[in-house]
């Protein structure tokens, strides 16, 4: 009894209450189920992506990437090999010398000339664990005729859009937030209300006319057509404004005494001091831009050299409906950067969004 009490108690008080009760069990059960639901599909996709083409297209549901051993046989070329078990229980590595029938012609791999008949049921595939790196390397390096997924172009476009858009967003949102938090001027309320109003306009209802605007600016079909329209975010302005309100005005006054210009005050004093808020906005902006889908689809779809990773992956999945092994590998490839960012910055992301969280 003493041991059970010790093992199940969750707080210091030894004799009463706060043992692990039904509520805790339910809570852990719920969390475990939720994490299983989240992790299993992702892990299964990863495990499937390292299986070879045959295993993927035949929907092999074993966990490990098993693939049939292939050996080079003199006069026959590359053949898959099988294990033949004869009546006495001896096993022998063979290859098929003819079509598969009830009685199949096989030959031992070290003696290819000597063909003999065995019942089909006595043959087992000779399998080994092999990680199918070709799933990844073929599309990325353009081998085996896989030239449709120009990985490095897509990656460059995605990184370019993400980095440039995030830098522009940070700069102009910080400028607007600085103006709204540290100056008294006519029209401050009007500007604030205008920015709130943009928060209420969903992007998908202005899709058609945004297309007209972007077209008439001449940036349709280029990466700038994706970067610029979404660069000013109301969320970012408010996030930074709330933070900048906490910076004491005395600092700014002291700098003005030293004859610093307003722009210098902004980037030498205000920007460094609002670094925590800036980093939250940077993380949010990276997530938004990297995962952006509908607008890049409209703007960039006609020019394959301007596709981002997301759009490239979409067209790639559409073209090769049956080549699941490449699709899965490329899915994993585009999942990895954001997963690494997440694992690395997970604490900042979750607390940052929890404290500011709006989109």
């Amino acid at each position: 009894m003493g041991l059970a009490t010790f093992l199940t108690r969750t707080k210091g008080n030894p004799d009463k209450a706060d043992r692990i009760g039904a509520a805790d069990l339910l809570a852990y059960g719920y969390l475990a189920l939720g994490v299983l639901l989240i992790l299993v599909p992702v892990l299964w996709t990863f495990l499937s992506s390292v299986k070879n083409e045959r295993a993927v297209s035949s929907f092999d549901t074993r966990l490990l990437p098993m693939s049939q051993v292939e050996r080079l046989i003199e006069g026959e070329g590359l053949k898959t090999t099988w294990i033949y078990t004869d009546a006495a229980g001896n096993t022998q590595e063979v290859f098929k010398a003819g079509p598969t029938r009830v009685e199949t012609d096989v030959a031992a791999i070290d003696d290819p000339a000597n063909v003999f008949k065995v019942p089909r049921t006595q043959l087992e595939p000779n399998e080994e664990i092999r990680i199918a790196t070709e799933n990844y390397l073929d599309p990325i390096l353009g081998r085996n005729g896989q030239t449709n997924f120009t990985f490095f172009t897509y990656l460059f476009n995605s990184v370019f859009v993400t980095v440039v858009a995030t830098l522009i967003t940070l700069l102009i949102n910080a400028m607007a937030a600085f103006a709204l938090s540290k100056y008294q001027f006519r029209g401050r309320l009007t500007f604030t209300i205008l920015i709130v109003a943009t928060l209420l306009i969903p992007s998908s209802i202005i899709l058609v006319s945004l297309f007209f605007v972007v077209w008439s600016f001449g940036i349709f079909g280029s990466l700038w057509g994706v970067i610029i329209p979404a660069a000013a975010t109301p969320t970012g302005v408010f996030l930074l404004r709330q933070y900048m309100l906490t910076i004491p005005d005395e600092l700014l006054e002291a700098a003005r005494m030293d004859a610093a210009s307003e722009w210098r005050i902004f980037w030498r004093i205000v920007l460094p001091l609002s670094l925590p808020a800036l980093s939250v906005l940077a993380i949010l902006s990276v997530i938004w831009r990297w995962n952006d889908f509908l607008w890049p689809l409209i703007v960039l779809i006609s020019d394959p050299s301007a596709h981002t990773l997301q759009i490239g992956l979409t067209t790639f999945s559409g073209e090769f409906d049956s080549q699941f092994h490449y699709i899965l590998a490329m899915t994993v490839v585009s999942l990895i950067p954001i997963t690494l960012v997440f694992v690395w910055l997970q604490r900042f992301i979750t607390t940052g969004i929890a404290t500011t969280g709006l989109k």
């Binding site: 599909p41 605007v213 997963t339 969004i353």
Partner: protein, 476 residues
Amino acid sequence: MSIAGLASLIIGILWLGGGTLWLLTRRRYRLAQIPNFAMDLLGFPVELAQSLFGRSGVPYALLLPNMLIFGFFTFAPMILNFYVSFTGGSSISLFDRPWVGGANYSAIFQCESYFDPRTCSNEGFSFWRGMANTLMFVAIQVPVLCAAALATALVVNKNLVGRGFWRAMFFYPVMLSPVVIANIWNWVLHRKGILNETLGDATGVMTALSGMAGFDMVATILFAILLFVASERTLRAAADPSLAWAGLFALLFVAVFTWASPLRMVGFQALPSLWLGLALGAGLVWLVSTAHPAARWVVMGFTAVAMALLLTIQFDAVFSFERFRPVNWLVTPNTGWPFFWLIFVFTWSHMGFYMLILLAGLQAIPSDLYEAAKMDATKPARAFYRITLPLVMPTLVVVLVLSLIRSFQIFDEVWLLTGGGPGRETFMIVQHIYETAFTGDRPAYGSAAAGSVLMAVVIAVFTFFQLFITRRQSGL
């Protein structure tokens, strides 16, 4: 070169050239101060505004880039949308578009019956079908998403081992892009995929087990023990029955009730028994959660009923499944599965975000309220209804509005998972706008813009309605 390109070139030259001249005539830079010079050059318009208009001109210069982008890429399209919706043709030059008046709208409204999209014109069919599907999606998605997010936030807010880990895990899908999510779930839900395989294996194992001798007796005894333990633990706690154990007991009761299916004696199928069982179980949990004086007796009564029903169940028949046929989850029409998986995947991928917002709301509740409640021996359920729920309500309203607007705009997941199919079962309103305007040989921008205007009206009405009915709780 386009006019915009020329304009940006001229601005760029003026900015860089003029700025360099202006700065170098006024300030001295040492060689090590090149970064300083670059930053000053970047802010040259602001510096210029300050020297021309004094300090009062600076905020306008600072706001300018942000407001230019908002003006050109949010407000202008918003107004332009109305104009485009009154024009026809497929020209992308605004001035070449013929004015057609309300023709786009009347084409959408050309229906014999507004409740049946099949009686509409082609544009009307596509629009109303998308609207009907979207409304149904929103009506199911928003409660499901909010309930799941609130439940998860409540659990994660408890004092558990590894809180940060759980929190991060639930947020992880939010980071994934829609394409990745769609590919993952397409792979899992494929007809020969892992889900069908697992279900097939599980039913096979259960059938084999139930075929063994004595299975009925063992299962009956097992369930009797489980029911006894759950009801005993429910009733044990000093004065009022415990809510968590009552929940477990209710789950067991629903299972037993469904399998025994007492309504079959009166001539119903099995399904009404499930609904009745669920209603009874929910009623039991509600009675216990409100600490109703009769709760004790109801739990005892339910135990007696469950025991009686248990004896009538043929467990080997209950667990003997037919051979499992793989379901084509996302493709088979008229099964409701594509819609179900859409809601599931949407919840899977967005729940973490709303959970984090709710978690912030929960953590803002002062803990001395709970301590005071504990002093007064308040039941946890009562503390939830009287403290947690009212205080988290403002956050919950924010989450409701955000998730409503978000689910109204659903496109990525549907388009990539089902493509609107099978047939038009999951065809949503944004897909209607996208396909009308951007796919096909003769893009109907006018019709798509009319659709967006109508969609904006619906979203606005819903948002304001939601804010209106929750105005007291949210304090707006």
